[in-house]
Symmetry: C2
Subunit: 349 residues, 2 copies
Amino acid sequence: MTTTHPDLVHLLRGPALESFHRGALAIVDAGGAVWRSAGDIDRPVFPRSACKVLQALPLVASGAAEAFGLTDAELALACASHSGEPAHVATAAGVLAKAGVDMQALECGTHWPRDEAVLRALARSGNAASALHNNCSGKHAGFVCVGCLMARAAGREPAEFTRGYLRPDHPVMREVTAALAATTGVDLGQAPMGTDGCGIPTFGVPLRALALAFARVASGQGLSAEHARAAQRLRQAVAASPFHVAGTGRFDTRVMQRLGERVFCKVGAEGVYCAALPGQGLGVAIKLDDGNTARAAEVVMAAVIERLVQLDDDERAFIAALADAPQRNWAGTEVGRLRASDTLRSLLA
Amino acid sequence: MTTTHPDLVHLLRGPALESFHRGALAIVDAGGAVWRSAGDIDRPVFPRSACKVLQALPLVASGAAEAFGLTDAELALACASHSGEPAHVATAAGVLAKAGVDMQALECGTHWPRDEAVLRALARSGNAASALHNNCSGKHAGFVCVGCLMARAAGREPAEFTRGYLRPDHPVMREVTAALAATTGVDLGQAPMGTDGCGIPTFGVPLRALALAFARVASGQGLSAEHARAAQRLRQAVAASPFHVAGTGRFDTRVMQRLGERVFCKVGAEGVYCAALPGQGLGVAIKLDDGNTARAAEVVMAAVIERLVQLDDDERAFIAALADAPQRNWAGTEVGRLRASDTLRSLLA
């Protein structure tokens, strides 16, 4: 149940190892061949927000994105764990307006932005957080669009096809779950099932299968024609508008602003991270045992990108600094380093 | 370097283990006998803020607390990692005023409160964070008091004995380090040394020695008369004013508001937690490998308290709920549990 996974990330304070993070990693091609792996990649893992691009496939494949004229930014937001900055909130509201509904249609719940600067700005403005600020509001707006298109096709009111879309047996959620099953190749009926932070069902999927799904997103191989087209459209949208998939200063935004379509990477809660590397035809899936995403999984992803993606010298320096970074205290003094472990480096060699 | 420690805390989503936390634990009496341990308790660990009570011993032992007439709340704040709530900020400012200086004397740096509600309230007020909001401002105000007393005794200006107090060779910091060495029994000259988040030196100390120091704080045994008196005074002050050692809704505040002098527990960064249990004459030191304090180390501490401290039924239910707690998503739906692992329960049996 608690396999001993390799130590992938080290935090040093002065000369000493202060903390470290263990985890598993799968890097797989679209044929399912494993390029590298670490730890147990067959144990089911909840993919959390790292699989949002898979959950957004029906938005494009159904024709809803086209029917409602969604832009790159709006499609990127459908794949996003955004920071709740004003531009994210406005974009989410815009998607709902195009589909003819408002934020009452969202069932994801409300939370305040987690980025400190964004939270401070919102509090200072005197406004409160709404469901539009939820980091998943773009994904949920996408679900609502699919429901609205179903309603239009049936000649019914939108609410008849959007209300209750969180339920596993709702027609929209059935499409979303089917996309996850098709891309990962996993029989989700047999998988552990839980409820995600935003209320939708989440299924335990082996890292191997999750990496396979991202290799398929990277290459189109092994996907239906509709899903292959949708995956390409979503990757292009995120590359064109990386701010909308995360936010100011965030890892995914910074990496994709810099590397464009060479990397599609996506953060998830609880130490999960996935990426599609189209140039290599590879998919990447990471899970840190302890659930540390922001500090640990990002470092692993940076080390993977540094090893695999074609980079010029400046780009290499940019990525290397994300895989091995000085740590500063409140007064700005350098007190240590956060970095990919030698174990991880050897494993990727 | 990265020993495999037992899994102490489990996070379940639905029926499945989503994440888990490994770590080490020492529970020791004032004679150094180990009541229970888990993992490697001889590897040096930076105690971080968990050892603030040890670092505050000179404030009382030097006579500065008495000379400046510090109250229970002010002494509790000297042992605190506080939330930066208005009452914490005012108390820190009050300590400095009693010593005849102002917040310019603080060298701990500035950070915004980390508690979301406190941060929102401060941002909404239109004010900015200052060094007084730093969670360590009370400890630093205590250091400044020691320097001010030294200055008074020497007939000099306060600044001559307070400026640069962060430096390892400053007379104030030498007292603080000597207290850590005396209570833990560790030769800190041979210990790994780093810089803490608030700028002072921090030393790697085995969990066994850290637990011993807290057993000594619990019982007074093995301490100098001045340190024994100071430890008792500080424990009483925190028990009388537990709000000032942490803040609204925080673990240490809630536990000590409820259990009074039966427990002195103190959070530290990077998954460190310490406690003195006077009724049992035991000291507790915990370090989670992955550095997760708020989620993981608190659960371990709750399980230790539940096992060791004499509690009535209501108190037992209160503590049990901290060692095994439902987890809810943004919409308030129960999605899993965070709890002490069976491994930890067996180990404490």
